[in-house]
Amino acid sequence: MNFLLLLAQAQTAVPAENGDTASELSRIGIIVMIVYMIILLALGVIGWMRSSNTEEDFYLAGRGQGFLVTVMTIMATFFSSAAILGIPGNVYKEGVAFVLFTMNLPCAGACIYLLGSKIRRIGQKRKYVTQGDMISDYYGDVPAVRLVVALIGFCYVLPYIIMQIKAGGYLAQGMFPDAADLNIFGHQMPIFQVGATALSLVTMFYVLIGGMRSVAWTDVLQGVLLLSGMLLAAVATIVALGGFGGYFEKVAELPPEALSLPGATGAYPAWKLMTVAVFASIGSLVQPAQWIRMYAASSDAILKKSSLVFAVVLPSCFIFGIMLVALAGRAIYPPEMVDGELVAHSFVGSFDQIVIVMIKEQLPAMMGGVGLVLVAVILVAVLAASMSTADSNLHALSAVFTRDIYDRLLRPSGTQNERAWVSRAVIVVATLLALWLVNAGHENEAFKPLNMIASLMFAAIGFSCQLLPATVDMLFIRKGTRAGVVSGMLAGVATIFLFKLYSPFADSETAQSFTRNLDLGLIGCTVNVIVFVIVSKFTPALDREHIAQLSKDMDGK
């Protein structure tokens, strides 16, 4: 899912519009944004009023989540603002080949039930909160297992939190390109900082007070906005082009390289797309925030229903929604070759801005004032997508740190009340640190910590995939050993690091030939599984009685 990284480059260079429309859009945008933020804060407060002061409630909403909340929070967490920026941006760049990427979604949908039901059953029975609770209970509660699982969790959630805050800054720039700096207590804040700060503080507030309940409720609103924004943008595009006839005529103008695999720049051969469809989808589902959502569902039946709705609704919104906008965008604003490199049309600015440009150009002209409101709503949908990912990962980060590090390794004798304060402190510190990094990085493009984190995001799903062999072993095979699982995960993480982040090797022809043709998560998983199996063969097996008991809990017998 390299497109996710486009967020890191999301230079919201929205083309200049004629003055009246732009200022009118800014005014409406402010109103829609303020209404949206107020609703989020209200949901946060209601979540807090409905909560009880227990760890289980803060992290898992009392394990009583119903169908609508479960399916919407899983969907909203699954996609960040990449759903409206990065993914259509890749279709705009590569052409129709990248539409095939959406076929990862039914795969992820099926896994919600196949993996989630067993995870939920044992989590409910044994009061697990994090994935570290389950994996370390299964393989023997030793610090090494918990630490490695927590490390993989951090590698996933940290870059996501930071990059979503950064996206908030760019979105504010895009919505209010002409806004003057704000003067806050004598400090001049450019619109980028205002956007990033508003996104992070509002998110921090409702996560802090309401925990999982507030996060999930706001995810429902954000999910609805995201899905309707994706469909609305497609309808607007087709209507603006004069109906399906006009749309087909426009798409017929696409050049041959945009109509075939491996795409305009050759980035997506079939093997790459197929392995991404399998590994990136499942990797995104075994990340800490989604794992917590499996525990939080109140029954198997809810996960089963969520699985079906996810597999049908989300891909439909892509294939029959936002992808159509990107395809039309490619025909209307074809990318250009500059010095042998494919770049976005000068009017579009950067690839991931194609949907924003399309709706800002088409809707107001077509529908006048109503069109402006719809543009503002779709732009807020992008913000909603960012916030739903940021809040879920912030909440998961707090759970992983408090349960897996503080409670088990630093201070096992701490009280529940103490852990509650630590979890809230983690949320505040993580948000403020992320905000500082984003602002510092915006002021100085060479700021190394932020650039390092941006690189980490390229590999986040690959890291998360390294939990797959352990997950499959626990849920279905049950033959691995403690030494096997730890060494397998470490080998997988090292492989991802080598292939993606350690440039002397990652830039070599050998590494490139692998990453060009296969998903990064698959490469890491292959090494992980080989090491896992070999080490498990030669190390002491787990206690059979212990495994039998856990298996009964997972299988619901």
Binding site: V99, C107, A110, S117, K127, P256, L259, L308
Partner: protein, 71 residues
Amino acid sequence: MFVLALVMGPGPGIYLINPDPGDPEALRSIFGMPIIYVWASFWFIVQASAVALSYFLIWKSSPESSETTEA
């Protein structure tokens, strides 16, 4: 059925219909849309049907138990 959809949709099966960019005679569109888009839509429907069939015919929810054990 699901695995078949994966192999045929985003997998190597796509080369059965993938138009050669250098061939002016290649079939690039069908029903007014790019052939790859139509192919992706078809195999998505197969995938979604496989999940729906599993939902109705194969997946069974286990009976819920209220018994709990501390981790």
